[in-house]
């Protein structure tokens, strides 16, 4: 049995909480950063495996041209990251009503919790996509196994 909630404050801190789901907010925050993490850690694992068999791979080869695993990993992580970014943008738009003032107000004074989380999602997704671009650049440009 659940008990009715008492009022928390004169106004609920998340006025827009019913307009979008919590899972959408968390997906917007976490999907792209987790994709970036997977790209980095799984990429490290694949590189270690490939370089253990160095005789079959030229030491100066670049990753994307030597192992389909890298290409597959990049494809999956980009899909997840862009899905996260897309959801984050949608969350940001959907919580517009919770905003009391401009973006300046959100940064300094504080508004609704939902708006706060959607802004986090937007920022983490953009940062993670930039991180992914970094890693892809390295896969194209950096030698794979030379140490």
């Amino acid at each position: 049995m659940t008990a009715p909630h008492a009022s928390a404050s004169p106004e609920h801190p998340a006025a827009a909480r019913r307009s979008l789901s919590l899972s959408a907010l968390w997906f917007g925050i976490l999907a792209a950063p987790l994709a970036w993490s997977a790209e980095e850690l799984v990429g490290y694992f694949i590189a270690s495996r490939v370089c253990n068999m160095k005789s079959s791979v030229g030491s100066m080869s670049v990753a994307l041209t030597t192992s389909p695993w890298f290409a597959g990993l990049s494809f999956v992580t980009y899909v997840v990251a862009f899905a996260g970014l897309w959801i984050a943008i949608a969350n940001w738009r959907r919580t517009r009503e919770e905003q009391r003032g401009s973006g300046h107000h959100l940064l300094e004074l504080g508004e609704g919790r939902t708006r706060f989380m959607s802004m986090w999602g937007l920022l983490t997704s953009i940062a993670a996509v930039i991180g992914l671009v970094f890693i892809t650049t390295q896969m194209v440009a950096a030698p794979l196994c030379e140490s």
Partner: protein, 845 residues
């Protein structure tokens, strides 16, 4: 429905001098004398102990540093022998990084969190006391090595093979290893307490976008610790196993690899660096704006940058291993991550500068320390940014440049905010102001001493001086920078001495502070200085991020209700709220003072001391554990008080009926169990990482023979089936079917015992011993760890079965069943991972 499971809390507007406050004091006060000293669970007393103990360790570590600086002040100095120098720098690093840097911040957080959050205590008060005692005893334990003649001497990061038995046979290394496992327990339970405190005990209305940045900092550090500390505990435990029992994790001759140590250590080490700076950055983010007379610029983005720093921090451990001959592509991955981490750090720096620039700075002593911190953070951050570049790191690694960077980061970002934070909150802690004049002298001496001491280390490093050398020849250009460094170190020490003198003088002759001497904006400043044992007469209702500045900022029409709210005086009680929005959803009953945290620590200290002959927990220890997690609803020594007559007013309509104690699935214990599962899952992940890492380094023949599935497969199916059975029992009690719960628990217990028996048979049938090679070490250690978890799960199931039999559970109150079942599911899922790794993956090779 039992009516005492629910209550409508009274609303009060009483002040601190009222009869209601006196009654709350009677409920929450700690007994005077040694009895109270050993048994208190008051977060303020525990926080103060953390602060004092950590500062004592800072002084000890500082004296060790001064000894080293005397030795290095001139070329060819002979004050310390090479052996003693190695011991001193090892103990200095261990002391500063483990025994000072995080515990001092835990001191602030323990004292301040409930005050900042508008609560009456932490979520698990006894666990809080336990965490402190374990920290104290682990520190003393590690320092005992000085008295047994074998002090650790392989540096604070203790690389294998220097620390292996072959090269370091004394007991000192074992003391360090077990001491670190011991210390890890303190850190982990403390972290769980912080996380659950945030999730459960915020004031009504305090949603996650309204909590102070210091809370974000400590929360992030705590979550980080839950995932990072198992790596170092495991690394030290495996080292101890190698040294004591001859396992082969780090021994190349047995198929192990020394680099496994570096991986495990730095998987912990880098997040730890952030754990010991993020709460300090939070101190600055909250206190600096007070002296700028405006809110922090960019709260949302600073809070996010705090979290992101830790998140990225888990993906940069390899940059400590750039010089170990790894393939170039991963180096570039981790190099780019190390560059990326600068962004959130820089965001915070720009936010602080913008806050100062757009505010109206008041030049009080805390402001000096915070502004000085911003400068030192920038210098330390820039030198860290440089070492993220692989080619430059190859040149700088193991030189004094890295020592300079480390000290700018750890001293600059930790000690300066800490000292500034003490100047800031000293009035709240003691009711007295610190001397401003002495404070400014204190700052300038420390600031000049710090830069004089540590900046020349950059030069020494660039001139090629390696770290950890006990002396050097003259004529290499190192003489002058080293002399300046030593002078700066002593000047810095004088600064610290001035700080201590200021504390002593201010305690005796300080001007009375009043409740809010700085005109600050957060909740702790509405309490008297020092705060009473119960913190708040009524639990405040929060409507904005700056409850005490609402009229000034005029953000909107809403106003917090700071002196009107729930009374909660039926014993030690506080309100439990929802994790994200701070909606009241339960009245939490808090446990009283107890000797058990102290006694439990004594028992653990004895256990660690005789670890080589004692493997299982004693009955007394098990009792300790069950007591420590007593919180909401489980206090047996609740001092119940008759509800007082309180005048009702119009705000009464805000209060609705709330469950009391641990009703519902999402009790504090449920959240605590999730935290425990997170950290235990990390432990197993590191174990399995070790397995795959060592396998990847073996050149053929890693698995001696394909594992037989004849016993393991049915045993796995049995364990997984037991999860379904316990779930069946748990869903039964939710509907009020006590018989179904008893049957489910009994069946699960039997299935678990059968699993243990079959696993024992499996061990017996193995054709190898634990010490034969790295594979065998990994197999027996991992399955052994799992078996310990199964044993713990069986004990929990047995206790639940007993409680179910005597009628403790019903449809309304069954949180313990949900928590126990959760743990059992975890044990089963872990086995699935272990089974897939050890029994299935060899077939996929």
């Amino acid at each position: 429905m039992a009516t005492d499971f629910y209550r409508i809390p009274s609303i009060t507007r009483e002040s601190y001098g009222s009869a209601v406050a006196a009654r709350l004091e009677e409920i929450w006060k700690t007994e005077p004398g040694i009895k109270g000293w050993l048994s208190t669970v008051d977060h303020k007393k525990i926080g103060m102990r953390y602060l004092i103990t950590a500062f004592a360790f800072l002084i000890i570590g500082g004296l060790e540093a001064l000894l080293m600086r005397l030795q290095l002040a001139h070329a060819n100095e002979s004050l310390l022998s090479p052996e003693r120098y190695n011991q001193i720098f090892t103990m200095h690093g261990m002391t500063m990084i483990f025994l000072y840097a995080l515990p001092i911040l835990s001191g602030f957080s323990n004292y301040l969190w409930p005050l900042l959050l508008g609560s009456r205590d932490m979520a698990f008060p006894r666990l809080n006391a336990f965490s402190y005692w374990v920290y104290l005893f682990s520190g003393v334990f590690m320092y005992l090595s000085f008295f047994v003649g074998h002090t650790p001497n392989a540096g604070w990061f203790n690389y294998v093979p220097y620390s292996s038995r072959q090269y370091d046979p004394g007991i000192g290394m074992d003391i360090y290893a077990l001491g670190m496992v011991f210390f890890g327990i303190s850190t982990t339970v403390g972290s769980i307490n912080f996380v659950v405190t945030l999730l459960r005990t915020k004031a009504p209305g305090m949603s996650i976008n309204r909590i102070p940045i210091m809370i974000w900092g400590t929360l992030t550090a705590s979550v980080g610790n839950l995932f990072a500390v198992p790596a170092v505990s495991l690394a030290f435990f495996l080292l101890w196993m190698d040294r004591q029992f001859g396992t082969a994790f780090y021994q190349p001759s047995g198929g192990g690899h020394p680099l496994l140590w570096q991986h495990l250590f730095w998987m912990f080490g880098h997040p730890w660096v952030y754990a010991i700076v993020l709460p300090a950055m939070g101190i600055v983010s909250d206190a600096l704006p007070v002296f700028c007379r405006r809110p922090l610029v960019g709260y949302t983005i600073v809070a996010l940058s705090t979290v992101l720093t830790m998140f990225i921090g888990f993906g940069v451990w390899l940059h400590h291993m750039f010089a170990t001959g790894l393939p170039q592509l991963p180096l570039s991955f981790f190099g780019s991550a190390s560059l990326l981490i600068v962004i959130p750090s820089a965001v915070a720096v720009f936010a602080w500068i913008a806050t100062i620039f757009t505010g109206r700075p008041v030049f009080k002593t805390p402001f000096y320390f915070f502004a000085g911190f911003v400068f030192l953070f920038t210098v330390g951050g820039l030198s860290g940014f440089m070492t993220a570049a692989v080619p430059l790191d190859w040149q700088l690694t193991d030189t004094y440049f890295v020592v300079a960077h480390l000290h700018y980061v750890l001293l600059g970002i930790n000690v300066f905010p800490v000292v500034g934070g003490i100047y800031f909150w000293f009035p709240k802690f003691t009711g007295k102001m610190m001397s401003e004049r002495l404070g400014k002298w204190n700052f300038w001496v420390m600031f000049i001493g710090f830069n004089l001491g540590f900046f020349p280390m950059h030069i020494s490093g660039l001139l090629g001086m390696p770290r950890r050398i006990y002396t050097y020849p003259s004529g290499l250009g190192w003489d002058l920078p080293n002399l300046i460094t030593s002078i700066g170190a002593f000047l810095f020490a004088i600064g610290v001495l001035l700080f201590l003198i200021n504390i002593v003088i201010s305690l005796k002759r300080g001007v009375p502070a009043g409740s809010n001497p700085w005109d600050a904006s957060s909740l702790e400043w509405i309490t008297p200085s020092p705060p009473p044992s119960f913190n708040f007469v009524s639990i405040p209702n929060v409507a904005t991020r700056h409850p005490l500045w609402e009229d000034r900022l005029n953000e909107g029409p809403e106003r917090s209700r700071l002196h009107e709210g729930m009374l909660l005086d039926h014993g030690r009680e506080t309100v439990g709220t929802t994790a994200l929005d701070g909606e009241p959803d339960v009245i939490l009953r808090m446990p009283g003072d107890s000797y058990l945290p102290f006694l439990c620590t004594i028992a653990m200290t004895v256990l660690v001391s005789v670890a080589s002959i004692t493997c299982g927990g004693s009955r007394a220890q098990r009792r300790c554990w069950s007591s420590l997690f007593q919180s909401p609803g489980y206090g047996r020594d609740q001092r119940l008080f008759k509800p007082p007559e309180v005048s009702m007013d119009e705000s009464m309509e805000l209060a609705q009926r709330l469950p009391v104690g641990s009703l519902g699935r999402h009790s504090s214990g449920w959240w605590g169990m999730w935290c425990l599962i997170a950290t235990e899952a990390a432990l197993f992940a590191y174990l399995l990482f070790g397995y795959f890492y060592l396998g990847s380094q073996a050149h053929g023949g890693w698995v001696p023979e394909l594992p037989k599935l004849k016993v393991a497969l049915p045993n796995t199916i049995l364990l997984l089936a037991s999860s379904a059975v316990v779930y069946w029992g748990e869903t039964g009690i939710r509907k009020g079917h006590r018989g179904r719960l008893i049957a489910g628990l009994a069946a699960t217990l039997i299935m678990g015992i059968v699993f243990v028996g079959l696993q024992g048979m499996e061990w017996h049938m193995k054709p190898f011993k634990m010490t034969d090679n790295a594979y065998a070490s990994s197999y027996f250690t991992t399955t052994g760890f799992h078996m310990m978890h199964v044993a713990a799960g069986l004990l929990i199931l047995a206790a639940l079965l007993w409680w179910a039999a005597i009628g403790k559970f019903g449809a309304e109150r069954h949180a313990a069943v949900s928590i126990g079942a959760l743990y059992w599911h975890f044990v089963d899922i872990v086995w699935l991972c272990v089974f897939a790794t050890f029994y299935v993956s060899p077939y996929l090779q």
